[in-house]
Symmetry: C2
Subunit: 197 residues, 2 copies
Amino acid sequence: MKRNKKERQNLLKKTIEEMPFTTDEELAGKFSVSIQTIRLDRMELSIPELRERIKSVATHQWNETVKALPIDEIIGQVVDLELDKRAISILDIGPEHVFSRNRIARGHHLFAQANSLAVAVIDDELALTARADIKFTRQVKQGERVVAKATAAGNDRKGRTAVEVESFVGTEKVFSGVFTMFRSTDYKGESSNENSD
Amino acid sequence: MKRNKKERQNLLKKTIEEMPFTTDEELAGKFSVSIQTIRLDRMELSIPELRERIKSVATHQWNETVKALPIDEIIGQVVDLELDKRAISILDIGPEHVFSRNRIARGHHLFAQANSLAVAVIDDELALTARADIKFTRQVKQGERVVAKATAAGNDRKGRTAVEVESFVGTEKVFSGVFTMFRSTDYKGESSNENSD
DNA sequence: TCCAAATTAAGACTAGGTACTAATAGTAAT
DNA sequence: ATTACTATTAGTACCTAGTCTTAATTTGGA
């Protein structure tokens, strides 16, 4: 049961890395040594106390939270929406959207803003992008605010709707595209023509 | 300065939601009341003590960690790359990529995978997407693995390179697109023709 | 066997609380 | 004015999971 000091300390380090929320008491039990020994070990290994460990995990992740959240749910903030007609959203380009080398916004974020706006403007339970023809007409830098405007062209042929999206920084057009959207009305699952399988 | 009870409690709730790592002492200072009042408020609002709040943030986020990281850096994992020729990446569609309603992958994730692969395949310091013509040919469901294959068409006319990207689930094509890429060689900042401003 | 390292123990102190009791201030109704 | 009630403040004892320090014990190796 009783390992020697070195062995125990290695294991202790690994244990705490894997389960940072373990008290000295639990660790003492686990290694069949006294609490004091665990504390000496932590001292030697420069491992902070439980509460500090928890705090650092929490604050680390806390800073990532804002980054992690909006990616999936809101790409840009919708400021105007009239279903099946038009929608406007704004997206402030922060450090999480740019290439670190040159602070230029990565294309897929502009696409994501436009695409999610195209999805949002469709007045339907299920709307999916079938195709898109897009142009990036000017680079967007960190700190700039992108305003995307979507207008539903309305001409449904075969259950599809074309949505035009144009994005601007100030008066300059930075992105434009036409999104062809499927909609669930008269939609029957899986593949749906186009050059599918 | 001194708000009434209701007002203070509302503000307290918001404050703690926004900054969970605040002690009762700091809160008491902020609202110019005693620590005991803050504690009564927390009791009434069922807000746990600081250490419990930290712990819940830590454990919550602990589970999200894996989700949070890859979004910005690696959209899909590159498994093969020969610069200026071809590249392959795989992306496993998890719950973070899909609409919660129907578990169908959101378009911008497929786009992001393809786009970042197109950027990666360009043998240059700076590569940016100028335009893209894309098709979503089959929906991708949660749990499926998307393999994206990019081939650089090579025909540089005016410093641009066309990259063809096709994405598959198994043998089925789910996405295809042509990305027209700028490259930094003979690149001179700002707008670069196309129908800019 | 003896020494040094390793371990355990004990005591005083800390932060950030809980739980409980009690006192005080302010307001409204009788 | 007295009572009733709420809101606030104060103080005590206790808790956890530590800290830091000093001291005593155990253990392994030459």
